[in-house]
Symmetry: C2
């Protein structure tokens, strides 16, 4: 008998009809003899609706009450899905965060699941019941409602899979799986059948919105096999597991891109030891995430230009912090919001020589100017002009045999 | 220092602006030095929205899950109101049914509050905090979410006032108070300043929708002074307390009406002992509520005609039950759906002779035919043709000096 976590995202449970459809998927899984724990998100749009209400009342809405407010969303879905299962003669029960309980630690709106009482739910599974659990939430040691951040239902599902020691964790969503690149932009994008946690992590953090990064991290840490699949088709999804289980025939698994980056250049910084630290320390303190950094010697050879990328939302704050900091002397700060980050990801890259060269050559053939480069073992990212994004993805998708 | 329960209904908290307005009312009450427990309903429309979703999934939605589903409504309001209070520097905290806990007994969707743990909340009130509690819900001894029936937030407020031994319980709503008759229909309707529990009960059960009957009953039983007032004006509301505290200058306090009654007549019933029991026993078993009963000798003097009223929704079921019952012999069953019940209510009626006569005379002057009569110590109801309702209310309102 196989024990599974099935997680359904917001669009999968967005209407009563969809909830009834999800109930049928669960009934089918039950009929195969599986023990099933279901984790649900709030119905699509509900969380945003609640956040909007809170913002109308206060831009800095009390965080404790924000958790009380938002946790109601998954409560509604849990009850509706459990009712839909009962209606089609599947024994089912919703369990709320405090009824289980799901214990968390950390701040309100940003907690982490640390423990779940498995006893009562395991008993219920043994009696052939389907347990419906709300994603995204828990309670603190003090008995306060907590949530674990936007998109946290994925993290809940993986934590629940780990603590219940299930055989798999299936993430049902509104796409067929993980694609070699965005199928909405590049029609020849192909669904990836198997991918490693590391690659998936890179793709997620680079803008692929299929699964939340922290959930993949947890799965990697505890080696929990994941499967991302569509609620709306019966097609096979994408399996995510550890690298050693994957036979790499291709050096590159996917091409990702993001358009929320900006490039900042500080021109004419005095070239002396410690200058980089002086620049990046105040940014780090202000929780500004600096992505790529490039340092060039300036034409006069006594000063240097430092270029780095941050999220576009952080540009004006970043510039202000640098201006306010008396430790840094420079000529000018310029920025460019019209850039995009395009990345190739693949666990096979390390063992395949020339991937870097082939990427640069391909972009050069297309007359695309590379503004910055960053590499890791399984990823190669470049910053280019935003207008070149589509051309770059298409070209890279083709030359790395992903079409 | 006065301890108060302030209860806010669905329309009072129907938008974020209204919730902010309610927060201001609470702040003002706090500034007068009062200790405040707030009880909230779900935002107007939310409960119906959730019920609609459940009905789309199943006409007989699982009752346990219905309670989980619906209780989310008051949770949302509690969090939003608490956030709104924090925003204007009033110390406040939402407490959920299981955090207090509010213990209930009875069936799902129809439970009663039996106990509330007062300790933590009293401590919080002593620290000058405003405690926000969700109406309409609780948890069972087994730790399951329960609700106490539609409109149950009033009942919650009164139960909380009783268990916390507060000095008063103020019901904030979208009308200025209790009126001598429906102010939407009869513009000369006057707000009643003081009314007894009994009169209020009669008015509620006769169709005045200001407060839920079971809540008034609880207030009567434990002598909890109530005040019904508007969230949107600063006018004085209606005070509801025990009869001995009211000085009755008028015999009649109010005129109520309802339009959901129907009249059924069984013609030619054999006139022998036990016949009434034979008729009404099966109806009672089928949970059909029979209101007024009149028995006349028929023209042939061996049979009798029996007339009674039931809710319109129950008419066809009632007729079917009577037809299926072999114990009853009769010639014919007829019914009339186009009737209304008009009632005068007043604790002063008992001590004022001639009220009955004056009512009948007034209706007769207006050429209104009385189809059935029912009396109690503080109420006199008649069934008339539905088309005459407005004329009847106006006339009665005038002759009993209510204009």
């Amino acid at each position: 008998m196989v024990k599974k976590v099935l997680k359904f995202g917001g669009t999968s449970v967005g209407t009563s009809e969809r909830i009834q459809h999800v109930a049928k998927i669960i009934k089918k899984e039950r009929s195969l003899g599986n023990k099933i724990i279901v984790v649900v998100s709030a119905m699509a749009g509900k969380t945003n609706e609640l956040i909007k209400l809170s913002k109308e009342i206060s831009e800095e809405f009390n965080k404790r009450e924000m958790d009380v407010l938002l946790s109601s969303g998954e409560q509604v879905t849990s009850a509706l899905l459990s009712g839909a299962l009962t209606e089609i003669d599947v024994k089912a029960k919703s369990w709320l965060n405090w009824q289980i309980p799901i214990l968390t630690e950390g701040e309100h709106t940003n907690s982490r699941i640390i423990n779940i009482n498995v006893e009562k739910i395991n008993e219920y599974l043994d009696e052939n019941g389907v347990a419906i659990l709300p994603g995204f939430q828990g309670i603190s040691q003090k008995g306060e409602i907590t949530t674990i951040g936007r998109g946290g239902s994925d993290a809940s599902a993986v934590a629940i899979a780990k603590i219940f020691n299930t055989d798999s964790c299936e993430i049902y969503t509104d796409v067929d799986g993980v694609f070699s690149t965005d199928p909405n932009k590049i029609p020849v994008a192909k669904k990836i059948e198997k991918i490693s946690y590391d690659e998936m992590l890179e793709l997620s953090s680079l803008g692929a919105k299929v699964m939340q990064s922290s959930a993949i991290q947890t799965a990697l840490m505890y080696d929990i096999p994941l499967e991302v699949k569509s609620t709306f088709t019966e097609r096979k999804g994408t399996k995510i597991f550890s690298q050693e289980n994957i036979d790499y025939s291709k050096s590159v698994t996917g091409v990702a891109y993001s358009k929320d980056d900006a490039k900042i250049t500080i021109i004419g910084v005095e070239d002396k030891p410690g200058v980089a630290a002086n620049i990046f320390e105040p940014l780090s303190k202000a929780q500004i995430n600096v992505d790529m950094v490039i340092q060039n010697i300036s034409s006069d050879q006594k000063t240097t230009d430092i270029t780095f990328t941050v999220k576009r939302d952080d540009v004006s704050r970043t510039k202000q912090i640098l201006k306010d900091d008396s430790e840094i002397s420079y000529k000018e700060i310029i920025h460019n919001n019209k850039v995009a980050k395009v990345s190739i990801v693949g666990a096979g890259m390390v063992s395949t020589p020339g991937v870097t060269y082939r990427m640069f050559r391909a972009l050069s053939d297309e007359k695309i100017n590379i503004l910055a480069i960053s590499t890791s073992e399984i990823k190669l990212s470049v910053i280019i002009e935003e207008d070149d994004t589509l051309k770059a993805i298409k070209k890279l998708h083709t030359i790395f045999d992903l079409d």
